[in-house]
Amino acid sequence: MIECIEEIPCNSCAIACKLGAIQMATVNDIPKVDYDKCTGCMACVMVCPGLAVFLLRAANGVGYVTLPYEFLPIPKVGEQVKTLSREGTVLGKSRVARVLPPERNDGTALVTIEVPEDWLFEARAIKVEGS
């Protein structure tokens, strides 16, 4: 889900997608995802300079949000973190399901949190204990 709503001159996501799933005619266009082509590889999540791309998944009644994370400390799998909305209000706590460490993506870690399905379109940030 690409939350890029302004016509910024930027095409990082479109160029990163190897499957042509992100449509952008000119460098100023707002990116549009073709969900039939997208495989969830997260190349776009990893590269977006605005940290504006998120992967949303739902399986067996549980929601998963993968977000880019550039703070310290990096959470560990199984840890409970505070989950925040776009306005910075605390939604509650979530379990960390997966972490792509920052060294594997030039400093931008990817953190997947388990959330109730109705948080899928709300949860956009986390705060880790000790940060």
Binding site: E3, C4, I5, E6, E7, I8, P9, C10, N11, S12, A14, I15, A16, T26, V27, N28, V47, C48, P49, G50, L51, A52, E70, F71, L72, L84, S85, R86, E87, G88, T89, P102, D106, G107, T108, R124, A125, K127, S131
Partner: protein, 526 residues
């Protein structure tokens, strides 16, 4: 995403006390890390001053280093055994008895320059007045004897095809394009490393992915610097301040005690911009810093600037700075913006908003409070004429106020080189009028923020354009260069064609010179 060299340590002396510092730190950074906040006292009222810009432009950090007065400590590296003292304040800058001037100043109403009119008679006392005055304002004292520790003053004269002033994104790409074609290119920068503002930008850049979008500013700086080092025909002078462009294309720079006199057939000015500041009560209190200065502390020297920050300005610089402050573990208590809307990209704003940072539009800071340093600030809502609305004042606790209210081009060199200057608010201030190929005077070009405040990606494109054009007009083109030039100009226009480019396009309309310079013309060698 940053690593800091914490291995080698150095001990220097500050006002008699030994201070431990890391080898690559500047004196100002090391002193700040050791808790110093009052760097000097103001000249007339002896108000405490901290540093502001951390980059050699504001001179609030000047101290006496090894007996040499008025050294900008933010530009000087620590050395083992160095002796540093502050120059103002009686008996010292921390507890200055003369700060009574600040309390009484209102009653004295000392007019500007009163000493020029009053302290000149009788004539035989003039020198005495001067001596007292210099001590009073804190301009330091010259050593009584000539220092024997410095090397002999020397001069270096050099002829070159293209001389580039400024090693930021525009200067670097210009040097690369010119260096790939011309036999001799010189690149001059006043810092101790190349990269300009890129070295402080830890975030990933926007723009075209084929042109470094998605790559962190610091990596771009590393890549470009490495490419320059691989070109043997490009000579780089660091720590060199270009102080003048003289007749017949002589560029003069000072590198410590050496005078550099470079004659370039073509001159490219890529000197970037200055930070603007904001007028509000007590805006000179230590703790009020420019955004760039805070970034330098955090990203170049790994020093935490404070614990609670108020950021003024929501352009991209302010938004990125707030994010970097959060990454450094600083609590950003609020961001204030005078306009009714956020100035920068909303994705940058989203990154800080979702961490809980309050962004208050139509607000500004009206007063900083604290004894000797910032301890709190008063913000207020403003009306359509930018006047504070009474009753909306709100006090916030903070120890850092970061001013990110805009940049203005460093136009001085272009003016010396004979360019026509014009004040264009959309481009940030005074800029030079230029042709389509960014030529502002015969054989003199501008590129980057100095030609108009914009982005790093446009700076790099402009640098490529002027570097290539300079080489072409000297007769050193490569095949298909003319197509490359047109393609880059088109790319620049494409990037500016969106809504964020509207302001730039409006500004540029006013500064184009009517005729195009013809390319492919050989310059005469004199």
């Amino acid at each position: 995403m940053l690593t800091f060299d914490r291995e080698s340590r150095v001990i220097f002396h500050f006002e008699g006390k030994p201070i431990e510092a890391y080898a690559k730190e500047t004196v100002a950074a090391a002193l700040y890390a050791n808790g110093l906040r009052t760097f000097s006292r103001s000249m007339k009222y002896h108000r405490p001053r901290g540093f502001f810009c951390a980059i050699g432009r504001c001179s609030a950090c000047m101290m006496t280093v090894d007996n040499v007065p008025n050294v900008r400590t933010c530009m000087v590296n620590v050395k083992e055994g160095m002796r540093v003292t502050r120059q103002s304040g009686f008996p010292n800058a921390d507890h200055d008895l003369l700060s009574v001037m600040d309390k009484l100043g209102f009653y004295f109403s000392l007019a500007s320059g009163f000493y020029h009119r009053k302290l000149i008679r009788p004539a035989f006392l003039r020198q005495t007045y001067l001596k007292i005055l210099t001590k009073f304002v804190g301009l330091g004292r010259l050593p009584a004897k000539e220092s024997t520790s410095k090397a002999e003053n020397s001069k270096l004269s050099m002829e070159t095809d293209v001389v580039i002033i400024g090693g930021g994104p525009a200067g670097l790409t210009a040097a690369l394009e010119a260096g790939k074609r011309c036999p001799n290119v010189v690149l001059i920068d006043d810092k101790r490393m190349l990269g300009g503002q890129l070295v402080k930008q830890t975030h990933r850049f926007f723009g075209d992915a084929r042109h470094y979008a998605g790559v962190r500013g610091i990596r771009i700086a590393e890549t470009l610097t490495k490419q320059i080092r691989e070109l043997p025909n490009v000579t780089t002078f660091l720590d060199s301040d270009v102080f003048g462009i003289y007749d017949r294309h002589i560029v003069a720079a000072a590198q410590e005690n050496r005078l550099l006199k470079i004659h370039g057939k073509k001159i490219i000015i890529a000197t970037g911009a200055y930070e603007r500041t904001l007028v509000f009560e007590n805006n000179d209190l230590p703790g009020v810093y420019g955004a760039g200065g805070v970034q330098t502390l955090m990203n170049t020297y790994g020093i935490k600037p404070g614990t609670k920050a108020l950021v003024v300005g929501t352009g991209n610089v302010g938004l990125i700075l707030s994010y970097q402050l959060l990454q450094a573990g600083v609590n950003v208590v609020a961001m204030v913006e005078a306009l009714p809307r956020i100035g920068g990209y909303l994705v940058h704003a989203a990154k800080v908003r979702r961490q809980g940072v309050e962004i208050l539009t139509s607000h500004t800071v009206i007063k900083a409070l604290g004894r000797g340093k910032v301890q709190s600030a008063i913000m207020a809502k403003i009306d359509n004429s930018f006047n504070p609305i009474p009753g909306t004042e709100r006090k916030v606790d903070c120890d850092l106020i970061c001013i990110a209210v805009g940049l203005t081009p460093t136009y001085e060199h272009a003016s010396q080189a004979g360019a026509q200057l014009q004040f264009v608010p959309e481009l940030g201030g005074f800029v030079a009028r230029r042709t389509k190929f960014m030529e502002v005077a015969d054989g003199v070009y501008v590129a980057g923020d100095v030609s108009g405040i914009e982005e790093a990606t446009t700076a790099m494109l402009e640098g490529q354009i002027v570097g290539l054009h300079a080489a072409l007009t000297l007769g050193y083109g490569l095949p298909s260069d003319e197509e490359k030039l047109e393609a880059w100009i088109k790319q620049l226009n494409d990037e500016r064609s969106g809504p964020f480019g509207e302001k730039i396009r409006r500004g540029l309309q006013n500064v184009m010179l009517p005729e195009d310079m013809k390319i492919g013309v050989k310059a005469t060698v004199s």
